[in-house]
C-alpha cells in the first residue's frame, strides 16, 4: 500500500535524523549546542513514535509521542535553566579527551557496530519498523555512553545520559508498542528527577570549585588539617 510505504520511509527518515542528532551531541563543543541537539533528537523520537502509532492506530504510542514532546524539548531545558547558572550554559569545551574528528570516527564505528550487533534481533522482532528502530536505538544508547566518557563538562555528560534513555525508548517503541502508559509516565518523571538532581549537584560543584569540568576531577586531594 502506498500509505504504508510512506509511513515506513518517514519513520526511517526520523531515525536517520535521530542518529545524526546523536552524532551532533558527540561532536559539538558548546553546551548550548549540545542541548539543542538533544532537543532535536527528542523531537525526532517523538516523530517516530507518532508515525508508528498511526497504523495500526495505537493510543499508547501517540501518548508516548505527546509525553516526549512535552517532557524533553520543553521541561528538561527549562529545568536545566532553572537549576544551573547561566554561565555554565554558555561554556565551551576547549580540552576534550579526544579531538573531535577522532571521536566522530569512533562514534561512527560504534554506530556501524550497533547495526551488526542487532542483525539477529531484527529478524526476531518481525515488524518492518524494527529494522530501523532497533539498530538506531542501540546506536544512540552506545553513543550516549560514549558521550559520557569523552565529555568533561557536567551538562553534556547529563545529556549523554539522556541520549542513552532516548535510545532505549527509540528501540522500545518498535518492539513493545503496547507497553503500559503508566510505565511511560513513570519513566518520564524519573528522567525529570534525574535531571533535577544532577542539575543541583552541578550547581553545588560549580559553587565549590568554580568549574563544571567534572572530567578533570579525577584526583582526590585531601584537605590539609588545621
Amino acid at each position: 500500500m502506498a500509505g504504508e510505504s510512506f509511513l515506513y520511509q518517514f519513520n526511517a527518515l526520523a531515525g536517520g535524523f535521530f542518529l545524526l542528532c546523536t552524532f551532533g551531541m558527540v561532536a559539538t563543543r558548546q553546551v548550548q549546542g549540545c542541548l539543542r541537539f538533544f532537543v532535536l533528537q527528542s523531537l525526532f523520537l517523538a516523530a517516530s513514535a507518532f508515525v508508528l502509532g498511526l497504523r495500526p492506530l495505537s493510543w499508547h504510542l501517540l501518548a508516548v509521542a505527546a509525553i516526549n514532546v512535552v517532557n524533553k524539548p520543553i521541561l528538561i531545558p527549562w529545568l536545566l535553566r532553572r537549576t544551573i547558572p547561566e554561565e555554565v550554559h554558555t561554556r565551551r569545551e576547549i580540552t576534550q579527551v579526544l579531538n573531535i574528528p577522532a571521536s566522530l570516527l569512533i562514534a561512527l564505528g560504534i554506530a556501524v557496530g550497533a547495526y551488526f550487533l542487532t542483525l539477529p534481533w531484527v529478524s526476531l522482532a518481525g515488524t518492518s519498523y524494527a529494522g530501523v528502530n532497533i539498530p538506531i536505538g542501540l546506536a544512540a544508547l552506545l553513543l550516549g555512553a560514549f558521550t559520557l566518557t569523552v565529555r568533561r563538562e557536567a551538562v553534556p555528560q547529563l545529556l549523554g545520559l539522556m541520549a542513552m534513555e532516548n535510545g532505549a525508548f527509540f528501540t522500545s517503541i518498535a518492539i513493545a508498542p503496547e507497553l503500559h502508559l503508566f510505565v511511560e509516565l513513570v519513566v518520564a518523571f524519573d528522567v525529570l528527577i534525574a535531571v533535577f538532581v544532577i542539575g543541583v549537584l552541578t550547581t553545588a560543584i560549580h559553587e565549590h570549585i568554580g568549574t563544571t569540568e567534572v572530567g578533570s576531577l579525577a584526583v582526590l586531594r585531601e584537605e590539609s588539617s588545621r
Binding site: 520511509q9 536517520g16 561532536a27 530501523v132
Partner: protein, 316 residues
C-alpha cells in the same frame, strides 16, 4: 540517435551560457542581503568580455603547465556536462561514456592542473592556496566516494541518468533516509568544493585567508577569463549533479521533442535559483571557519554520508 547528440551539445551550450549568470545572481543576492546595491547580475559576462580583450602577461620563469592550465580548467566542466543530465531525464549520446565516479575524476583533473599552475610561478600565495585546496580536497574525497557508494547501493548503478529515476519511483523513495542524508552530505560538499562561505570566502580578497582565489592571481587577460569562466561552470555542473541527479529529475524534459527540451531550460534555471536562495541564506548566516576547523565541518558531511550508507545497506 542524432537528436540525442544535438541535445547533448545543447546542454554544453546551456552550461556555457548560464554559468556566469549563476555567479552574477548569487553575488547580487548576497549584496542585497548585506543591504548593498551590488553589481548587475550580468557583471560576470562583462568581466569575461573585458578580460578577453586584454593583453596577457606570462612569467618567463613558468613552464608549459602554466600556459596549458586555463584550457584544461575551461574544458573539464564541459566534458562532465556531456555525462550528466542537465536538461533531459533520458540518457543522451555520451551518457554511458562515464559514470558519476568518472565525472568526479575528470573534474579532479582540472583541480590538479590548477594546483600545479598555482605553484608553477613561485608566487608565495599560489603555493599557499594550492596546499589549502589540497587539504580541503582530500577531506572532501572520502565523502564523495561514500556518496557514490550509497547511490550505487540504492540505485544499483552510478550512471547519473539511472540514479535520478531511483529516487522518485515510487514516490515514497524520495523520503528514504539514504536520499535525504546523501542530499545533505552533497550540499556540504558543494560548499567545500565551490569555495563557499563556511570553508572559503569567494568575495574576500585578504591574501592570508583566501583559499581558492589565491591560486589564480598570476593569470591575466584571456587566460584569466578562461579560468574564471571555467570556475563558474564547475560550480554550475556541481549544482546540476546535485539538483538533477541527487535531488529529483523533476522539471527535466521526458520526451525527445525540441520544444520540451527548450522548456526544460527555464525549469532547470528555476530549480537552480531556488538552490541559490538556499546557498545565499547559508552564506549570509554562517561565518567563515578557521582553517583547522574545516576538518570538523567536512567530518559532519562524512558522518552524514556514512549514516546514509549504513541505513541503505541494512534496510534490506
Amino acid at each position: 540517435m542524432i537528436v540525442h547528440l544535438v541535445y547533448n551539445l545543447l546542454q554544453v551550450a546551456v552550461v556555457m551560457a548560464f554559468a556566469p549568470l549563476l555567479a552574477g545572481v548569487t553575488n547580487r543576492l548576497k549584496e542585497i542581503v548585506q543591504s548593498k546595491r551590488g553589481a548587475s547580475i550580468i557583471q560576470p559576462y562583462r568581466d569575461i568580455w573585458k578580460l578577453f580583450h586584454k593583453n596577457e602577461v606570462i612569467s618567463d620563469q613558468s613552464s608549459w603547465i602554466f600556459r596549458f592550465t586555463p584550457y584544461v580548467v575551461f574544458i573539464v566542466p564541459l566534458f562532465v556536462t556531456l555525462l550528466i543530465p542537465v536538461l533531459t531525464s533520458y540518457p543522451l549520446f555520451f551518457a554511458f561514456m562515464g559514470d558519476m565516479l568518472g565525472g568526479g575524476f575528470v573534474l579532479a583533473l582540472g583541480g590538479f592542473f590548477f594546483t600545479l599552475a598555482a605553484v608553477d610561478t613561485a608566487n608565495p600565495y599560489g603555493a599557499m592556496g594550492a596546499s589549502r585546496t589540497r587539504l580541503v580536497g582530500f577531506l572532501a574525497e572520502p565523502v564523495f566516494m561514500i556518496v557514490f557508494f550509497t547511490v550505487s547501493f540504492v540505485a544499483g548503478s552510478t550512471i547519473p541518468y539511472i540514479v535520478q529515476q531511483a529516487w522518485v519511483q515510487p514516490l515514497s523513495n524520495f523520503f528514504e533516509p539514504a536520499h535525504v542524508l546523501v542530499m545533505l552530505a552533497f550540499f556540504i560538499l558543494i560548499l567545500a568544493e565551490g569555495g563557499r562561505i563556511p570553508v572559503d570566502n569567494p568575495s574576500g580578497h585578504f591574501e592570508l585567508a583566501m583559499i581558492d582565489e589565491s591560486k589564480g592571481l598570476e593569470f591575466s587577460g584571456p587566460a584569466a577569463a578562461l579560468m574564471k569562466w571555467g570556475g563558474e561552470m564547475k560550480l554550475f555542473v556541481l549544482i546540476c549533479i546535485f539538483l538533477n541527479v541527487l535531488v529529483t529529475p523533476w522539471g527535466l524534459a521526458a520526451s525527445t521533442t525540441f520544444s520540451n527540451v527548450l522548456l526544460a531550460i527555464p525549469l532547470v534555471l528555476l530549480k537552480i535559483l531556488i538552490f541559490v536562495l538556499v546557498l545565499v541564506a547559508v552564506e549570509s548566516s554562517l561565518a567563515k571557519l578557521r582553517l583547522f576547523r574545516i576538518s570538523e565541518f567536512l567530518g559532519v558531511a562524512f558522518i552524514t554520508s556514512v549514516a546514509a550508507m549504513i541505513m541503505s545497506l541494512f534496510a534490506g
